[in-house]
């Protein structure tokens, strides 16, 4: 990596540009401190009434500025009161102490359309995330949000490098329509959080209510995440380098039984169902003593497949600086994360499984005139995911859960590679990893932005205009080079004891295949901004915004042409809209915002493409009153705000566009009959009167700061009513003769909840301080209308239940005895004592789909997510920790369809699930966990009514594999998400070589979890170990600031 670092430095240095020079009589220099005596970097210093002259403090708070006698030097920093210094003489050791701002009135928040607003005047529900909080080593920003940011519910479903990006939702899931994800805007452009290096982020806000998102119109209903990246700053060149070394360790890997236990249990599973045992006593002896590792091997596939640890490295550097005319920010990052698979280094065709990524960003601002600014930004990334040639790595995990220790050896003693099963179960994970070639998925993305900002103060004071255009292009390139060796299966031994091998798979020369996809987007937006303060009391601002976008992807054709002719399916996806915001504030005490979005989507019929989405918010800050300040001096700030308004959602479903169009196709006519040989018929009936899905959102929020701002609290309560959720109609009668059911705006759902956060900061003394933080998000939803085909029983309807409510059978425990079986309803196949007994809900004497009832309010999706953490600072040391957790979250070990597996999830949990291919957890080997008939065990106590596993079955058990609350568990957890130790070194010796500071961080992530799942990670529990678990990570990170 040394080489890379050098290249990197050269590259960055070559971008170096002019540093601003100041002129004047005296040099005023010194250090700026805050009121706890900590030096303050980044403080703006400028001369009053002399625009264009200024600097900022360096990393140590040092500054120097040229000034003339009589000038007034102003020191200004967000969160502090400005300080003015009258220049009388040259001073180079000035000590400036900035006092923490008493009201924090000037703190800014990014509010949408890339504009910032003073925090005090914000009346929408906006979470502004401290960027500092996102600077921990992690896979992506997505993974940092849950438990750290109020208003976010997140789920990480895999720990596999490249696939370990958390999904997140703003205030939970608000619609059962096609799209419930938030709109993510990076510098105003739709983007993905996972592609940004956290160090590039300047500000990060989440817009949650209608007032904040209204301006996004048809796209804002599910919340908006706004990210702005760092821009160049005038002043001293700031160079930052970061190196990160992370050790990942797989934890909570499921434990499977060895060969002998497997054989014993297999015999039990067969015997208790009146089947012949699988292994004779002789074979059992062979297995126990491991006498014939070819025919009766004992392979721990987990050990053969996994390394348990992997080592990730990532490097990042940025340069920020500029002068009076131009400023820039450039960054470059790279990371390489191998997966924790064990691979033979000498294998010719082994895949180096893992994920690597390269990112760059360059933001340049140029002042053309005093009033005109041009911004040019480019960013890009390249990522590469490497997997085995024959299948995705998902199969490695499946194989661990399904391939028994006894099926085949790693290799036969004669050197041949074994094969078994069918489909992807033909290869052992060892073969997949080492002998089947490589597949790579590459993605590269480039984006260029050009913006022009014009200050129109010459016309009207406070009026600004900005226009921005962007082009994004993404290329996907997937390649597979697959190869197969000769593979055999040993059927037995000949009379002479030699292994009888049958060739199952013939060697296959390398085959190559590739697929490509491309995406591009044009985007143009312009804003007109007006801001003014009238007679010090009235703050008025206005915003008018216009945007238009046009995107398309090659694969869209294939995605949408199921329902549309290709020529339509390939049309670009377009948006266009105008929106505006008017704010008024009186003495920072009363605020009112009025917003509207008038935006359109090509998804609707001409004439009904545009929707109007108004919203309003009001705020009141009682602490502005003098009497309040006097009577409750402990309450330094209180704001109460309320918002109400509407937002839209125009995405219909994964594969439908232009649902208003009736489409036709040519069809072949049987050459008998009425006439013609080719006909024309409707393919799909267009939906009359189709519009966007609409959300009516309201939000009540309270923000407070107490005890000299040591404690600050924000709590929001929200209510989101969705109406017109897209659904394919089911209740249109057949007699009207529509060829199929059209889409309609019929679904209705509400979600409600609360989120909030709290921060407590306590300086202890000059060297010591600590901060405690906590946040929570609670979101529940309820379906109010879901047009469903008619059902026989009321409990089969979705209405009145939360979205995703899990439906299955109600279990009554295990059948006690034959009499119990005989008395029960007819279940699935022949049932025996020890099998799961279901409740006959409709009392018709048989258990069938009509007996399925809602078992859980959600499946796997938490309705409460919270986090708390803190930092303790002593001199240059900081210790931090973060816990995150969820409320009660149901999941099911058996009966949930797993699309990766292509079958129900029980295979990883239930012993012998698919017969020969079904592994057994050690848990099942423990007699107390399974029900065994006394007739087999000889001990009546083994008929344990509370056993985790019912009577064993060799192969799938039609009765016990059904989704029922027998398999329901709680995935609630509290996790020690992060512990960090940071040391900020400011050694003289370093400074002498030009390094202003070095920061060392040790960060442990995902360290310990308290939960009831225990054997798997709670977020992935329902996958029963058939997934790469979220690893524990130990990172060492060095920041070097030049």
């Amino acid at each position: 990596m040394n080489k890379t670092a050098i290249i990197l430095s050269v590259l960055l240095l070559s971008c170096f540009s002019v540093i601003a020079q100041n002129k004047g009589g005296f040099t005023i220099g010194g250090v700026v401190y805050d009121d706890t005596d900590v030096s303050l970097p980044g403080v703006s210093i400028y001369l009053k009434d002399k625009p264009g002259v200024g600097t900022i403090t360096d990393i140590d708070g040092k500054f120097a500025i040229k000034a003339s006698k009589g000038d007034i030097v102003i020191f200004s920093f967000i969160g502090f009161d400005s300080y003015e210094h009258y220049v009388a003489k040259e001073e180079t050791k000035l000590k400036v102490v900035l006092k923490t701002s008493s009201t924090m009135l000037e703190e800014a928040v990014v509010t949408g359309m890339g504009t910032t607003q003073r925090k005090v005047s914000v009346v929408g529900a906006i979470t502004s995330v401290e960027v500092k909080e996102l600077q921990t080593p992690g896979v992506s920003v997505n993974n940092m949000l849950g438990g750290r940011v109020p208003g976010i519910i997140s789920m990480q479903t895999s720990g596999e490098p490249g696939d370990d990006i958390s999904e997140f939702w703003v205030r939970g899931i608000g619609t059962f329509g096609a799209n419930s994800s938030a709109l993510v805007l990076v510098d105003g452009l739709e983007g993905s959080l996972s592609e940004i290096d956290p160090a590039d982020i300047e500000s990060f806000s989440i817009l949650k209510d209608a007032s904040a998102t209204a301006v996004y119109g048809v796209r804002g209903a599910n919340g908006v995440v706004l990210v702005t990246t760092k821009r160049g700053e005038e002043g001293k060149l700031q160079i930052t380098g970061r190196a990160n070394f992370t050790l990942s360790r797989l934890t909570r890997l499921p434990e499977y039984v060895g060969a002998y236990d497997y054989a014993l249990l297999a015999n039990e599973a067969r015997a208790v169902r009146d089947e012949l045992p699988l292994y004779s006593d002789l074979e059992l002896t062979l297995i126990r003593e491991n006498l014939d590792p070819d025919l009766y091997p004992n392979v721990n596939w987990q050990k053969e497949t996994l390394k348990n640890t992997s080592f990730k490295q990532s490097y990042y550097s940025s340069i920020r600086g500029g002068g009076k005319v131009a400023r820039f920010f450039v960054s470059l990052g790279l990371s390489d994360e191998p997966a924790a698979y064990k691979q033979e280094s000498n294998s010719d065709y082994g895949a180096r499984t893992g994920y690597s990524k390269y990112t760059f960003r360059s933001n340049v601002d140029i002042d053309l005139t005093k009033a005109t600014n041009v911004y040019f930004g480019t960013e890009g990334f390249y990522s590469k995911n490497t997997q085995p040639g024959v299948a995705t790595t998902d199969y490695l995990w499946q194989a661990q859960a399904m391939l028994t220790p006894l099926t085949i050896p790693l290799k036969y003693s004669t050197g041949e590679i074994p094969s078994y099963g069918t489909g992807n179960n033909q290869y052992s994970p060892y073969v997949m990893l080492n002998h089947t070639g490589v597949r790579t998925n590459e993605q590269s993305n480039l984006q260029a932005t050009l913006a022009l900002k014009q200050d129109l103060s010459a016309l009207i004071k406070g009026l600004r205009f900005r226009v921005q255009g962007a082009y994004t292009s993404t290329t996907y390139f997937n390649e597979t080079r697959s190869v197969l060796p000769d593979m055999y299966f040993a059927q037995g031994r000949g009379v002479d004891g030699t292994l009888q091998l049958v060739k199952r798979i013939s060697a296959q020369q390398t085959t190559y295949s590739a697929s490509q996809d491309q995406y591009r987007k044009f985007f143009l937006e312009s804003t007109l901004n007006y801001e003014t303060v009238i007679s010090d009391d009235h703050r008025v601002s206005g915003l008018l915004y216009y945007y238009v976008s046009d995107e398309k992807q090659v694969s869209d054709v294939g995605k949408y042409n199921i329902t549309l002719p290709s020529s339509l399916a390939a049309l670009p996806i377009r948006y266009q809209g105008v929106s505006g915001r008017l704010t008024y504030g009186f003495r920072d005490t009363y605020m009112i915002d009025m917003n509207f979005g008038y935006t359109g989507s090509e998804n609707f019929k001409p004439g009904t493409q545009y929707g109007f989405f108004p919203s309003m918010a009001i705020g009141w800050v009682p602490t502005q009153y003098e009497w309040m300040k006097n009577t409750a001096p402990w309450l330094s700030f209180l704001k109460i705000r309320f918002s109400y308004g509407s937002v839209g959602n125009d995405r219909i479903s994964g594969d439908r566009r232009f649902a208003y169009l009736t489409t036709f196709s040519y069809d072949k006519i049987d050459e008998v009959g009425w006439g013609g040989t080719s006909g024309i018929t409707e393919n799909l009936v267009g939906a009359d009167n189709l519009v966007w899905e609409k959300a009516i959102k309201s939000d009540l929020g309270i923000e407070a700061q107490l005890f000299d701002q040591k404690l600050s609290v924000t709590v929001d309560f929200f209510n989101d009513k969705r109406d017109g959720i897209f659904q394919q109609r089911t209740q249109v009668p057949a007699y009207i003769g529509a060829v199929n059911m059209p889409y309609g705006n019929v679904g209705k759902m509400k979600s409600y909840g609360s989120d909030g956060n709290m921060t407590f900061t306590q300086p202890i003394n000059k060297d010591m301080s600590f901060t405690l933080r906590g946040n929570f998000t609670y979101s529940r939803n309820k379906i109010q209308n879901w047009e469903q085909a008619e059902q026989k029983y009321d409990y089969q309807y979705y209405i009145g239940w939360p979205n995703g409510a899990t439906r299955g059978f109600k279990s009554l425990g295990l059948f006690r005895d034959e009499a119990d079986v005989a008395a029960g309803a007819t279940q699935f196949g022949a049932v025996l004592p020890g099998d799961i007994k279901y409740k006959d809900i409709n009392a018709d004497g048989k258990i069938d789909d009509y007996d399925k009832i809602p078992l859980s309010l959600t499946n796997n999706f938490p309705s409460l997510m919270y986090g708390f953490g803190g930092e303790f600072t002593y001199k240059d040391f900081t210790v931090g920790f973060l816990f995150k957790g969820t409320g009660k979250t149901d999941y099911y070990h058996v009966g949930i369809y797993d699309s990766r597996l292509g079958e129900n999830n029980g295979v990883g949990f239930v012993p012998f699930c698919d017969g020969e291919i079904g592994n057994v957890l050690t848990m099942a080997a423990d007699q107390k966990n399974r029900w065994t008939p006394a007739s087999y065990s000889g001990n009546p106590e083994t008929e344990n009514p509370d056993a985790i596993f019912p009577r064993l079955t060799y192969g799938e058990n039609a009765n016990n594999s059904k989704l029922s609350d027998f398999w329901k568990r709680d995935a609630r957890y509290i996790k020690l998400q992060e512990v960090s130790l940071a040391y900020n070194m400011k050694l003289k010796a370093l400074q002498s070589v030009g390094i202003s500071s070095v920061e060392l961080q040790f960060v442990g992530t995902n360290l310990y979890t308290w939960d009831k799942v225990n054997i798997f990670h709670p977020e992935q529990a329902w996958r029963n170990g058939v997934i790469y678990p979220t690893p524990a990570q130990y990172a060492f990170q060095v920041y070097i600031h030049l």
Partner: protein, 664 residues
């Protein structure tokens, strides 16, 4: 960036212009026709009468659900088998291929769209426009006809094109009464008939002609006059009570009108007579006959009338005249008997169900003993021992030797043909595959698979227990339907192939028998003003009845009606019922006939009989009339409600004001 300046940025009209839209379909003559024919292509194949719709769009319950056939199949696709076993109900009917409701209404909507939009097509001349409208009106009415036949009273949409995305109250509606449904369908068909040409060219065989329209009207009018739908229809006994007992209490919610009329109206019979006569008077149709040749058997010596056809059965070959219409031997397009017919691939594919498993078939399309016994002896006498001098009849012993006539070979195999099957009328041999019947199967070049005598006893070559695999693939009665099987047809052996086969949707024979039946029910003279504004009078004129009826009898090589048969309405009805059963065997008429006559419960409940397929040929135990007592026969359901299929409960739940059929 000029891209963004365009005003209609979100408008995709530029891209949809070259696409098919309703506008571009209705403005273009070719597209309009394609749309029309495509809708017609959604109709069920009229020949799909064996109850398995897996290979086709929809199918009719016909054969499996009446007393002329028996099958054991109930697997997926065999919905008719499931229906007769009682496992079809309102909840699952919607998923069956018997369910006409959904698909027929799709056709109706398409036709309404054409009617509403045909004005857009300026390319059309008035003649062309009328022609398209004619087909459109008929197709719409014909779709309703299918709904009516399968489900009873329809929901009349009129010319309305319903909005597709409305709330339930918009869709609330009620069914029309049976009478309203029939009147609507008939009047629409009358409207269509004006525009539809009387003939089509040979290449357009299958396209409805004016005669086809009139033929369907004739069928409907006869049904409408029949006891079940006509207040008992003046019939005696149970049939006279049928309308009341089936539908007496079934009334429309909103106005209390009975869904099925309870007042007998004799005029309907006159109307039925007129609509049949109208087809006859077109002078385009006649029964299909083939001249007698050297191989034609001589008429029985004792037959009184041996005049040349059409005055008697002389001079024609009855076997070929009848059989060639079905097997694919004759040229269907030139067949003057097809008032409406078409080549139907389904018929060809279903011959496979008559061939035994060992010879590439499924073997189980059984005929009932009732049908066997209904066929006359060759001289027109009943098959009652000892028969007549010309045609002895015996239910013991076997034919020794071989008889060959009209290209048909009776006997000559290793084992003799049971005497029950000897000396029968020509249609018997055209229709029935009995034990030791010769199956030529000439298309295969494998000689071992040509000219095989199939025997259905347990010690025979294709008996029940010879069948490997599916345990339902054998005949349960010892008979299979052979009507559509050509001597060339084979399903096994090298180069085995089958001839294409026509299906007579409306045969002239039906029109003749319709006419005879309608007249038979008249007690007074009726004057009907026809669609040509000419007045026609109808009364129970025995000569008219005999003339029409005997054309069918003579063609089969049989003597005409006796004076005794003609003398009474009831005796004549018996003759008509029996003639229709035989003449239209496995043509999907019996299912509807026994229903409209109000005798469905009685006829269908009679036990299914056949030969004893558990018995042996060797000891004669096979040749015993045996009541079927297998699982399927025991659970065969006859229920008043099955006069119609139910409407899907899903549709009823969507629109609760649509009344379900009684009993479902």
């Amino acid at each position: 960036m000029a891209l963004f300046s365009c005003q209609d940025f979100l408008n995709i009209n530029d891209y949809t212009e070259d696409m098919l839209t309703y506008d571009s379909i209705f403005q273009n003559k070719d597209n309009l026709e394609s749309y029309l024919w495509s809708a017609a292509d959604k109709l069920p194949h009229e020949g799909a009468i064996w109850g398995n719709g897996a290979a086709v769009r929809k199918s009719f319950a016909g054969i499996a659900c009446s007393d002329e056939g028996f099958i054991q199949w109930i697997s997926s696709g065999w919905h008719a088998g499931q229906l007769i076993q009682g496992t079809i109900n309102a909840d699952n009917i919607g998923g069956t291929n018997l369910y006409m409701w959904d698909d027929m209404y799709k056709i109706i909507r398409k036709m309404n769209l054409i009617i509403a939009n045909i004005g857009q097509c300026t390319e059309l001349t008035t003649v062309e426009r009328n022609l398209i409208l004619g087909y459109t009106y008929f197709l719409r009415a014909y779709a309703y006809y299918h709904v009516l036949m399968a489900h009873g009273p329809v929901v009349l949409a009129g010319d309305q094109i319903y909005e597709t995305n409305m709330t339930p109250d918009y869709y609330a509606t009620e069914r029309a009464t049976y009478d309203e449904s029939v009147e609507y369908i008939c009047s629409e068909m009358e409207k269509a008939a004006r525009f539809i040409p009387a003939t089509v060219t040979v290449s357009q065989f299958g396209r409805p002609t004016r005669g086809a329209v009139y033929g369907i009207i004739s069928r409907l009018r006869l049904q409408h006059a029949s006891p079940l739908f006509n207040g008992g229809g003046g019939a005696s006994g149970v049939a006279g009570n049928s309308a009341r007992s089936y539908f007496g209490e079934w009334k429309r919610e909103s106005d209390g009108a009975g869904y099925v009329n309870q007042q007998y109206d004799e005029k309907r019979w006159a109307l039925a007579a007129y609509t049949a006569k109208r087809v006859m008077d077109m002078n385009l149709y006649s029964l299909h006959t083939i001249e007698a040749d050297n191989y034609t058997p001589a008429l029985p010596a004792g037959m009184a009338n041996k005049e040349e056809y059409p005055n008697g059965p002389g001079g024609i070959d009855p076997y070929k005249s009848y059989s060639d219409m079905f097997t694919g031997e004759g040229v269907a397009a030139n067949n003057p008997e097809f008032v409406w017919g078409r080549v139907d691939p389904v018929v060809k594919s279903y011959t496979q169900h008559s061939f035994p498993k060992e010879y590439g078939g499924y073997g189980g399309m059984a005929l009932t003993q009732k049908v066997i016994d209904a066929f006359c002896l060759a001289d027109g006498s009943d098959p009652v021992a000892p028969g007549t001098a010309d045609c002895p009849y015996d239910e013991t012993g076997f034919l020794t030797g071989k008889r060959t006539f009209s290209g048909y070979v009776l006997g000559g195999g290793q084992y003799g043909v049971y005497n029950m099957y000897v000396n029968r009328e020509a249609r018997f041999y055209a229709c029935v595959g009995f034990s030791q019947c010769l199956w030529p199967m000439l298309s295969t070049t494998e000689t071992a698979k040509n000219n095989v005598y199939f025997g259905y006893a347990t010690d025979d070559n294709v008996g029940k227990y010879k069948t490997a695999g599916n345990a339902e693939d054998y005949t349960t009665t010892g008979y299979v339907s052979k009507k559509y099987v050509h001597p060339e047809d084979a399903w096994s052996g090298t180069s085995a192939t089958r001839l294409n086969k026509p299906f007579g949707i409306v045969r002239y024979a039906e029109i003749l028998l319709n006419y005879a039946e309608a007249l038979n029910n008249l007690t007074q003279t009726w004057t009907i003003t026809g669609s040509d504004s000419v007045s026609y009078t109808f009364s129970r004129d025995v000569n008219e009845i005999a003339h029409a009826f005997n054309l069918v009898r003579y063609r089969a090589g049989l003597p005409g009606l006796t004076a005794e048969q003609l003398s009474g309405k009831d005796t004549m009805f018996e003759a008509i019922e029996r003639e229709r059963m035989i003449e239209f065997l496995h043509e999907n008429r019996r299912y509807y006939d026994i229903r409209r006559w109000g005798v469905y419960l009685e006829r269908d409940a009679e036990p299914i009989e056949g030969m004893n397929i558990e018995g042996k040929r060797g000891d004669g135990s096979y040749y015993q009339r045996t009541r079927l007592d297998n699982l399927r026969a025991r659970s065969r359901v006859t229920d008043r409600k099955m006069v119609w299929l139910p409407i899907s409960s899903s549709e009823i739940k969507k629109v609760p004001t649509i009344a379900q059929n009684p009993g479902w």
